[in-house]
Symmetry: C2
Subunit: 368 residues, 2 copies
């Protein structure tokens, strides 16, 4: 294999695919990135067997071939090279690559391509598309609530389904649940519940742009494929039954407070500074015209915050883990949110209603 490629293009491709490369793999070949000539491009592939990322980089191919090179070294070397033309030559007899650029030359030991796992072909799936911008916004509003409790693998990802012209996503760690529903331009499409691994959600969010360009999604029984901007991501799906999110979302409440999101977020962050470090509890007291947040760390002091609200229903109070409230408010871009409560022992709900429906349920804590 011999080819010429622009340093910046190659670096971008390496960065993209290296997101799928696991730093702690028991299979040494998986710490590498596959490089393979294909027509007038180089195909780059990285995978940890759970997620695979493939992308193409424009290149001038002088002779065809392929090699697997260690991702860590390839990334750092190409990053540091000058922004010039790179000449990449491989010696297939001993699996080495030579990287020349300006006055720099690197000889790197690689591995033969035939040991590298093929990404599965995702063929006869259910296909639909959504804008990159919208998919990114959906993921960012639910990803943070995914559980990392490995004893419950069905919670280690985000639920996704399509029904009645809407895409619905949810995640929960049993202390809080994030749910979002968006209209989708495919009235007859039905996608049964699938669970997309947390890592896939996170890498998708990083690689998706804020553009109207579409992501082509293809779902099979145990895989999902995402195609956008010349990047393909193949992800394993998580097996198991996701909890019934509809049961978790309260269908009524006795108190609704409309509140400015930024003011509530700032006040919560400040009060959290004096929430006891182990339990992180803040108390919220809803009065007719204001919401009062208090926190107390006996050896340090107390915090008291007031935020104006529009209240409908009963005055009430509740205690939350401050972090769960902050996590949610941070990913909301709306000016106002509704806080819905039904006394101090029932879950609290944060809702926004612009564009999409976003519902966030937080379990209350018993405050001493």
């Amino acid at each position: 294999m011999k080819l010429k490629v622009n340093q910046e293009d190659l670096y971008q491709g390496i960065q993209t695919t290296s997101k799928a490369v696991s730093s702690k793999t028991t299979l040494p070949i998986l710490s590498g990135i596959l490089l393979e000539t294909q027509d007038d491009k180089i195909k780059l592939v990285g995978t940890d067997l759970e997620i695979g990322i493939e992308c193409f980089v424009e290149a001038e191919i002088i002779s065809e071939g392929s090699i697997v090179l260690p991702a860590k070294y390839l990334t750092s070397i190409v990053r540091e090279l000058p922004s010039e033309e790179i000449i990449l030559t491989t010696e297939e007899s001993n699996n080495t690559a030579q990287i020349k650029c300006g006055n720099s030359q690197f000889n790197i030991h690689g591995s033969p391509t035939d040991e590298f796992p093929l990404l599965p072909e995702v063929e006869s799936g259910i296909n639909f598309s959504i804008s990159q911008e919208k998919l990114k916004a959906i993921i960012d509003q639910i990803e943070f609530a995914v559980s990392d409790d490995e004893s419950k693998p069905f919670l280690n990802g985000g639920l996704m389904l399509v029904e009645n012209g809407s895409i619905k996503v949810a995640s929960t760690d049993t202390y809080r649940l994030a749910y979002r529903e968006d209209k989708i331009d495919a009235p007859n499409l039905e996608v049964d519940e699938i669970i997309i691994p947390s890592k896939t959600l996170s890498e998708l969010s990083k690689l998706l742009s804020d553009s109207e360009d579409e992501v082509q999604i293809s779902i099979t029984e145990n895989q999902a494929l995402f195609n956008f901007s010349g990047i393909s991501i193949v992800s394993r799906l998580i097996e198991g039954q996701f909890p019934n999110y509809k049961q978790v979302i309260p269908d009524q409440n006795s108190t609704t407070a409309q509140v400015n999101k930024d003011r509530l977020l700032s006040a919560t962050k400040r009060a959290a500074l004096l929430a006891k470090q182990d339990s992180n509890i803040i108390k919220i007291n809803l009065k007719s015209d204001k919401l009062i947040i208090t926190a107390n760390t006996p050896e340090v002091g107390q915090a008291y915050e007031e935020v104006p609200i529009d209240l409908e229903g009963e005055e009430t109070e509740i205690a939350f883990n401050a972090r769960y409230l902050i996590d949610c408010l941070k990913v909301i871009s709306d000016e106002n949110v509704n806080l819905e409560l039904s006394g101090s022992l029932s879950p609290g709900v944060i809702k926004t209603t612009s564009e999409c429906e976003y519902i966030y349920v937080i379990m209350p804590v018993r405050s001493a």
Copy 2:
């Protein structure tokens, strides 16, 4: 004590003084910042007994007083408060402070002022001044080479002296030595060798601005005082005898290579990627028109870099710890540097000659 102060002003004062507060102190009072009214200002003081930082913040003083408040909580609370007027009230009977700002109110437990150590008065010292910009540049070029070997406390700081109209500073960790000499506008000034602790150098560098404004320096037998921008830093000096730096700087050489600093830095950084992780060795080969850097990590591969040079004297080669070379080149702003060598067993020297004299000596390593 009761006063009104602008949030941003108070936060800046807290940030400045908290740099002297140690996070791991055995004396609880030292984890606090002293606040004390003084005329129409608040004086803030932080100290770990080795370094003390004092600064003043404009305030509207309603009643006088003082308190010590925990630096960690004070910093995070004032940082998160809105950019408005803060009303600070203390209750001296039980050492508590109330911080009110907008709709926020914090009650914080403090400590009585009389337990807080007084910063020593630095009175009859040798006084001189230098621009902030220059002192910062001097510190930045030597601070990184200070030793952190606690068994040799006299190396845990930077040497400073003034003689013959020049300020001279040096630091060494025995593997490399950094030395800088600048003209100073005080022909008759003499300051004997003092050793300024590493932490003082580091905090000075962070607080000094790139301005022509002067730093007033006052040196006594065991303390140094730095006054600038309304900030006072009092530092203990390190006792002991700093090594004779003049003996370490070679006074002749058999090879001088003039080289572009940025090109040498980039090439060294790249080659270092394949320097063996434990010893970090790169080899430098000086030819008549180019400098060749090579590095080798057997299990990964080899790096080869060329940088054009103007050579005077003999062709030669030498091996260095790549990090030592990178550390030095990173803090040089000159376009070109001279690399002076005397064979592969003698120390190498990097020199710049614009404005000030900067000399950096690196011990060679024996390459296998």
